[in-house]
């Protein structure tokens, strides 16, 4: 991991950056070279990154919902008028 790849702390990572960092973490863990301390640190970091990514992905509903604009408009108009 180089300094360029590291995200400066405090700055939000993009999904892609977070995702890439997760990959990197897993590769590092896969190498088997990480010490116990490093493993813990990596797993922690990976977990929070994955959660970040999941939040990013999971910000929508459970299922695709379809609406018609004209219906929405009329409903809003009705609501506005009441």
């Amino acid at each position: 991991m180089t300094d360029e790849q590291r995200q400066p702390p405090g700055e939000a990572l993009s999904y892609e950056q977070a995702s890439a960092r997760v990959e990197q973490i897993i590769r590092r863990l896969d190498s088997g070279e990480a010490s116990l301390d490093e493993t813990l640190a990596l797993v922690k970091e990976g977990k929070s990154l994955i959660e970040l990514c999941a939040d990013e992905l999971g910000a929508v509903g459970a299922a695709l919902e379809e609406l018609r604009l004209d219906e929405l408009v009329s409903r809003l108009e009705n609501e506005a008028s009441t």
Binding site: I26, D30, I50, L57, L64, E66
Partner: protein
């Protein structure tokens, strides 16, 4: 969309009830039970095929001319190519044989929809049959593209103006959310584009809200409707991104996406617009001002949802799983600790035990040494004792044997002295006795002896002796020689 057969059919469908009744009446005097319409002043009823055939002959007899108009609704089929020519005043369905069409477009390039073209030909009518619909068309035998430059030049001028006003930039500066919550889609209600967008969104595993803004997307009325839809989507529906999508269409259809008002509206919209209205060859002005321009509605949907959510979720789950596995793996070495501790314990024990065993055997060694020596002494002593006993026993046996032999010898000697030798003496005594004169005396003989006991063996000795003793066996008698 209006095609040649439907243009004929439409009017008849409007008063279909009448047509049916008329057909029933017309058929009566001729081929069937139908008779003419009572009280009608018109001739007939004639068989419609006859009439259609006559109509075709009449139309074909019209003068062949050249027409100019906008080419729209181009629909090639297997045998023929159909299209319409339109201008502000009207439209005419056109058809060309497929072979003729290939020849016509071979030189100047294929005309596309929205182009001004000049065609040459004449009216024609397909009379139809019992199983097929009739149709009118202007049979085209020659075609030439006209006025194309004008349209493109007009669009180009507008593009430059918009660009100069910086209207190509604002949309591009907007950031597309990776996963929008709400997507507005402006498209034809029944178009294939709508289905493509929906399918692509579903493929991505996106589960947000789609707000469909159906609008005409193919004619000169389209632009105002789209402008209105965009405003509503951004303002009322508060969508995160808008897709303007249209399936493949003619250049004329695309012209509405070059509408100046539409383009200005889009450029100033604070919601990113993804355009998917043209072909990759024909770039509309909407493509220039939109945040993203895509070649197909599918691409547009993929641009709106910047990530394959299905795969991304799967990847995230897999990544989480890997992390979990590594965490488990890291703790797996926990199982090695008791093993290592047990090995330490065993090693300690073994070190003690092997030494203790060795030491025990070593400690026994001097004792065993002594015991061996004792056993040896014991054995030696027993051997000495046995040897001395043997010696004594041998000596005693020998003495006993000697005594026995000596006793036997003594016995033999005793026997000798008591039996053999006395017998021998007896024999000798007997032999001696045989010579003893005493025995002769016992038979009656007598020995003449001198008085001193000397035997007198002759008469002379007797005479000389004068005194004699006559010894008989029992006793001696004294006698005197008397030689009278």
């Amino acid at each position: 969309m209006v095609g040649p057969p439907s243009s004929i059919r439409s009017p008849s469908a409007a008063d279909g009830e009448q047509t049916v009744r008329a057909a029933r009446v017309d058929s009566a005097p001729g081929a069937g039970p139908a008779g003419g319409i009572p009280d009608s002043q018109l001739a007939g009823p004639f068989p419609v095929g006859d009439y259609a055939g006559a109509l075709r002959a009449k139309l074909r007899s019209f003068a062949r001319v050249q027409l100019v108009g906008e080419l729209v609704n181009l629909r090639p089929s297997r045998a023929r190519v159909y299209f319409e020519l339109r201008d502000a005043g009207g439209a005419l369905p056109c058809a060309a044989w497929r072979d003729d069409w290939e020849r016509m477009v071979a030189g100047g390039g294929a005309p596309v929809e929205g182009m001004q073209v000049v065609v040459a030909g004449g009216c024609d009518f397909y009379p139809g049959s019992a199983t097929s619909s009739p149709g009118f068309s202007f049979a085209v035998s020659e075609l030439r593209i006209a006025g194309e430059g004008d349209l493109l030049a007009r669009i180009d001028r507008l593009r430059k103006r918009l660009d100069a006003e910086g209207l190509c930039e604002p949309q591009r500066r907007l950031t597309l959310p990776l996963v929008p919550r709400t997507i507005g889609v402006v498209t034809g209600e029944r178009g294939k584009a709508r289905d493509d967008v929906l399918a692509a969104l579903q493929r991505r595993g996106w589960a947000g809200r789609v707000v469909w803004a159906y609008a005409p997307v193919q004619d000169r009325h389209a632009a105002p409707a789209i402008v209105r839809a965009l405003g509503d989507l951004a303002g009322l529906a508060r969508v995160d991104v808008v897709i303007v999508a249209r399936g493949g269409g003619s250049l004329a259809d695309l012209l509405c996406f070059c509408d100046e008002t539409l383009c200005r509206t889009v450029a100033l919209l604070d919601v990113p617009v993804i355009a998917s209205v043209g072909h990759h060859t024909d770039r509309t002005l909407l493509d220039d001002v939109a945040a993203v321009s895509c070649s197909t509605p599918t691409h547009a949907a993929e641009a709106a949802v910047g990530i394959d959510l299905r795969r991304a979720r799967h990847d995230l789950a897999a990544g989480g799983g890997r992390l979990r596995d590594h965490a488990t793996q890291a703790m797996r070495s926990r199982a090695e600790l008791p093993v290592a501790a047990a090995r330490l314990r065993e090693n300690g024990r073994r070190a003690l035990l092997t030494r203790a065993r060795l030491l025990a055997s070593l400690s026994r060694a001097p004792g065993e040494h002594v015991a061996r020596q004792r056993a040896r002494l014991h054995q030696q002593l027993r051997e000495i004792r046995a040897a001395s006993s043997r010696r004594l026993a041998g000596g005693r046996e020998l003495s006993a044997r000697h005594a026995l032999v000596l006793a036997r010898k003594a016995d033999a000697a005793l026997l000798d002295a008591r039996e053999r030798r006395p017998r021998e003496l007896q024999r000798l005594a007997l032999a001696l006795a045989a010579h003893d004169p005493q025995r002769t005396l016992e038979r009656g003989y007598a020995i003449v002896e001198s008085p001193d006991g000397a035997p007198l063996a002759s008469a002379r000795e007797a005479r000389a002796a004068r005194e004699l003793l006559l010894r008989f066996a029992d006793a001696s008698v004294a006698a005197r020689v008397d030689e009278r």
